[in-house]
Amino acid sequence: ERSDGTVRVGLKKLKLDSKNRLAARVGSKQDKPLRGYSG
């Protein structure tokens, strides 16, 4: 917590590589829904 009253959370970044891209493709049908919208 800083003196200005803010609280900071560090974020990590996933480095895209062929392995996790493959994982993404495998899971591509398991998508998060956008609630409240009809397509």
């Binding site: 959370v9 495998v26 899971g27 409240g36």
Partner: protein, 442 residues
């Protein structure tokens, strides 16, 4: 209460690139979560999750080991395209940064079917959207931060580091902004539909040429839990064409262009109301605001009946896209022949719904800037900013940061501004004034 009729597949969580650490309970049990402004629940795997592989591979919350745990027990399910995460609500202290949010309602996931979360780098999701879209009406973490007086200003902000070589992935600041991570002033726009961080967006420009599609207004959602930038198919197709992204050939589209292209052009030149054109030539009916599928097969459809089911819809959609494309070209004073050639080429660049498109890494320098208009200001994205590089060296692949997502009016047309946009533009989520602000990130 999220019936399938109201659900559109939005994202693949394995593409989520930014995540951070939180802790639940006393003493703290650590979890890695995606901080997601596109959802509003907090969930982590539960120690009572026995039969899902994802649970075996991630840390699990054990309520018996927490002195601040309070039983809730209400069941919960978050539905996905082809599955659901389910479990039950519990209450406990949640530590985010140095803040301890007491009595936070969250979901202990006891079932995580499918492979989506098995290979994920993160364990759960921390939603930063509004309560209106929260499953079980649970208060999102930031509501309780405010209620418990943990933050001075009712604001949180994201800085996503785009420098792949830096160890620091980014920063989420609760209670204010970090002036080191943006330059200039933020452009603020009001939240128009509470639930998501949704606001009105103006026209989209490709290489500084207006497309016209959103000049009468589109909606956009700032979504830190999505990697890419999703938008309506007609515009994503134009972008795909401009950046050489490989698309799926659409025969229906080509047939419509071939048979009706000139007629559409003539009708636009004779100042027929664009929204009525497709119904006028018999491919759609007019519902008072826009063309809708007739639900019967046209001559064009019959010729292509073998190509897909529901070709009546396809011909209507293709016609409506052709109208948008031709309008855009007429604005740029293109000749009739050039316009018809161009829209025929666009048919070959039609994106797969929610599918990624590959682009040539060696051609980045030839690709145009793509710009979005928000709050009357133009926000540019250069090719280096909207193309994602996967892998290193000669094996590197490039993926377009744009994907297609179609939401019909009155909710749409809708854009989802994910990490591709939020990486370039530092984003402030101001829940005190219900507005979103963007400034160039540094």
């Amino acid at each position: 209460d999220s019936g399938d009729a109201d659900v559109v597949a939005l994202k693949n969580y394995l593409d989520a690139q930014y995540y951070g650490e939180i802790a639940i309970g006393t003493p703290p049990q650590k979890f890695t979560v995606v901080f997601d402004t596109g959802s509003s629940n907090l969930w982590v795997p539960s120690s009572k999750c026995y039969f899902s592989i994802a649970c075996l591979l991630h840390p699990k919350y054990k309520s018996s080991r927490s002195s601040t745990y309070e039983k809730n027990g209400k069941s919960a399910a978050i539905h996905y395209g082809t599955g659901a995460i389910s479990g039950f609500f519990s209450n406990d202290a949640v530590t985010v940064g140095d803040l301890v949010v007491k009595d936070q309602e969250f979901i202990e996931a006891t079932k995580e079917p499918g492979i989506t979360f098995v290979l994920a780098k993160f364990d759960g999701i921390l939603g930063l959207g509004f309560r209106e879209i929260s499953v079980g009406n649970a208060a999102p973490v930031w509501y309780n931060m405010l209620k418990q007086g943990l933050i001075k200003e009712p604001v949180f902000s994201f800085w996503l580091n785009r420098n792949a070589d830096d160890e620091e992935g980014g920063e989420l600041v609760f209670g204010g902004v970090d002036p080191n991570h943006f330059k200039g002033k933020h452009t603020y726009v009001p939240v128009t539909q509470k639930g998501y961080w949704q606001f009105d967006m103006g026209d989209v420009l490709i290489g500084s040429a207006p497309t016209g599609f959103c000049e009468n207004g589109c909606s956009a959602i700032a979504d830190s839990g999505t990697s890419l930038l999703a938008g309506p198919t007609p515009i994503i197709t134009m972008i795909n064409h401009a950046i050489g992204a490989a698309g799926v050939v659409s025969q229906q589209c080509k047939t419509v262009v071939d048979q009706y292209g000139e007629t559409i052009l003539d009708l636009l030149l004779s100042e027929t109301q664009p929204k009525k054109i497709c119904s006028q030539i018999g491919l759609c009916t007019f519902d008072g605001t826009r063309g809708v599928s007739m639900g019967i097969e046209s001559v064009v459809d019959k010729e292509n009946a073998k190509l897909s089911n529901g070709v009546g819809d396809a011909a209507c959609s293709a016609c409506e896209m052709a109208v948008v494309w031709i309008q855009s070209q007429l604005r740029q004073n293109m000749t009739q022949e050039r316009i018809l050639n161009y829209i025929n080429e666009l048919c070959e660049r039609l994106p797969s719904p929610m599918g990624e498109s590959a682009v040539d890494c060696a051609q980045l320098s030839t690709m145009p800037t793509v710009s979005l208009t928000i709050g009357g200001k133009v926000f540019d994205l250069s090719p280096e900013e909207y193309v994602l590089k996967v892998g290193e060296g000669p094996a590197a692949q490039c993926i377009s940061g744009f994907i297609a997502l179609d939401v019909a009016p009155p909710r749409g047309p809708l854009w989802i501004l994910g990490d591709v946009f939020m990486g370039k533009y530092h984003t402030v989520f101001d829940f005190g004034n219900e507005q979103v602000g963007f400034a160039e990130a540094v």
